[in-house]
């Protein structure tokens, strides 16, 4: 399904991220998508994807994400020590008549096949996760990645999502928490990043860290404060002091938490948020034009 965002000229990628987990990334990303209506939505939080509970897509395609693992034809009597020496992840130990392979350490780079005795290192596909794709209402082209438990190949699944990004229109990316490679992968191609935080010392600490990442990547960004009123004013003071725009404040409300727990959206609870999210998008477009 080709979806082009109405009102968005060309392509606009918005990533929704946060340093601290559980601050409301998925709430913001999914409600922005539902409010705007026309967009592509990608859940890059492949270790703990949750946007499906709120967007309720009809999954039409499931695609396995695989990487290549080596296996060694030891019966040939070949010497595999070059493979073990080459592997930067210490995934291979070459003994006299035997090769011990640690699959969880293998990144699937193919180096051992390249340096090993010709024809004695073969490869097989190993599933590390899956991509699920399908339409969601009103007019959302939905994709999510899901890492297989036990696998460490988070970025392999994210890379498979990278290949699905459309050429045109609005693209919303739901990022994983943190500030390391998986989060950077989800914000690296965005035109604008929304950072969601909460007004607590944990929220502030992690907001400062994620601002550090975005400044390093030179990305424009704004902040949404979720559970406003729950802790203190220090997040707001920090944003004001550093000229960071606060795009919205979502109040601390036990009712909203109840809606969330069932997979119901913020705009179901309070329909005035639809207009607010539309305006946030308009504001972002305006900021990027100038």
């Amino acid at each position: 399904m080709e979806v082009v965002a109405e009102g968005v000229d060309g392509k606009l990628i918005i990533s929704v991220a946060s340093g601290k987990g559980g601050t409301g990334k998925t709430t913001v990303a999914s409600n922005l998508a539902l409010s705007v209506g026309y967009c592509q939505f990608l859940d890059y939080d492949v270790e703990a994807p949750n946007s499906n509970f709120f967007l309720k897509p009809e999954i039409k395609h499931v695609q396995k994400v695989t990487i290549k693992h080596p296996y060694f034809l030891t019966e040939t009597g070949a010497d595999f020590s070059a493979c073990a020496d080459f592997c930067h992840y210490n995934a291979i130990a070459a003994l006299k008549d035997e090769v011990i392979f640690f699959p969880e350490l293998c990144h699937g780079c193919g180096g051992c096949k390249l340096v090993g005795p010709k024809g004695t290192v073969r490869e097989k596909d190993v599933v590390v996760g899956e991509i699920r794709k399908g339409p969601a209402k009103p007019n959302i082209d939905f994709s999510m990645g899901d890492l297989k438990p036990g696998s460490m190949r988070t970025t392999s699944v994210q890379n498979a999502l990278d290949k699905l990004i459309t050429k045109d229109g609005l693209v919303i990316i739901d990022s994983p928490p943190g500030t390391s490679c998986a989060m950077v992968f989800a914000v690296k191609d965005c035109d604008y990043c929304i950072l969601v935080t909460e007004p607590t010392p944990y929220g502030l600490n992690d907001l400062e860290l994620s601002v550090g990442v975005l400044e390093k990547l030179n990305k424009p960004f704004g902040v949404i404060i979720n559970r406003d009123g729950i802790g203190d004013n220090k997040v707001e003071e920090y944003c004001n002091k550093n000229y960071i725009q606060i795009l919205a404040k979502i109040p601390n409300d036990r009712e909203i938490a109840k809606y969330y727990s069932r997979g119901d959206s913020l705009i179901d609870y309070d329909s005035s948020w639809k207009k607010k999210f539309e305006n946030i998008l308009k504001g972002i477009e305006k900021e990027l034009q100038t």
């Binding site: 930067h88 180096g111 860290l209």
Partner: protein, 290 residues
């Protein structure tokens, strides 16, 4: 010595709140903050850093010599980290996993793997116990390696000082940092919430914990926002032999207390605080058994 790792799958369910309060209630303990890209334990524990060490992570490829733009490296790279331009190649350091294939394949030896500082690790003293923690630079990779390092440091200190309990605050998600935080521990406590998102992530992270064949405990935070979902979690736990050590009620005082940099277990009128004390009583006997 027993080691307990606190994890959650979904971020923001209360890992660090439970961990920091357990650290306060414990005796003869050492604390480790394994959420190295968005660490928060230090906020309540207020550590005084005694020892700092640089963390040199895995290497990334750099073009250091004369590139003839033959395109061999681009073809060989399985992480889509190399792209071609008119005159030479470009290496995307964010995608590069330091496998060394491009360095090996380059006919003019123009590519070199270079390791850089990716963070720091610290051994600190707090009012309660020693804290081993770290800071990963924004966007850095190899958090698993850094986690292994700080856990080894904590184990060494525990051995020297005859410490009986290592309390580890884990990262959200189910990937590399979580796996590195669970490897070799005795038990894990999964902090979850009665929301569709948290339940889904709880089940995924439980799959990971199962791989390690360790004792699994669980607690349900904000259990009263959705009693039906709480029941579902309890049923899942009883079916899978997971011991539920507590159910923490929704309590706005948790965030308020945190904002005052106080421990919720010291708040005599907080129901959440009382339940965390209760949880500690339930798990204590196991943690200090031989």
């Amino acid at each position: 010595m027993k080691q307990l790792t606190i994890i959650s799958g979904k971020g923001g369910t209360g890992k660090t709140t439970v961990a920091s309060n357990f650290i306060k209630l414990a005796s003869n303990q050492i604390a480790v903050d394994c959420d190295v890209d968005a660490a928060n334990l230090h906020i309540l524990l207020e550590p005084e850093i005694k020892k700092e060490e640089e963390f040199i992570g895995g290497a990334v490829a750099k073009v250091t010599g004369d590139c003839i733009n033959c395109g061999k490296c681009e073809e060989a790279c399985r992480f889509d980290a190399i792209s071609d331009s008119e005159t030479d190649i470009k290496i995307d350091e964010l995608r590069c996993e330091g496998c060394g294939v491009c360095e090996y394949i380059c006919p003019t030896d123009a590519i070199e793997l270079k390791a850089e500082k990716q963070g720091s690790s610290f051994v600190s003293e707090t009012k309660f116990c020693t804290l081993v923690h770290a800071r990963l630079l924004p966007g850095a990779e190899n958090s698993g390696l850094l986690i292994t390092r700080i856990r080894n440091t904590a184990e060494d200190i525990a051995g020297e000082k005859n410490i009986k309990l290592v309390i580890i605050d884990g990262a959200p998600g189910i990937g590399c940092p979580v796996i590195s935080s669970l490897n070799g521990v005795d038990a894990t406590l999964i902090v979850t919430e009665p929301t569709l998102s948290a339940i889904s992530d709880f089940k995924k992270v439980y799959e990971v914990a199962k791989i390690f064949d360790i004792k699994v405990f669980a607690c349900i935070n904000k259990f009263d926002i959705n009693l039906e979902n709480t029941k579902e979690i309890e049923e899942f736990c009883s079916k899978n032999n997971i011991e539920v050590i507590g159910k923490i009620p929704y309590d706005d005082k948790v965030a308020l207390t945190l904002s005052r940099k106080k421990f919720i277990v010291d708040s005599k009128d907080s129901e959440a605080g009382l339940e965390i004390i209760n949880m500690w009583e339930n798990i204590k006997e196991y943690l200090y058994s031989e």
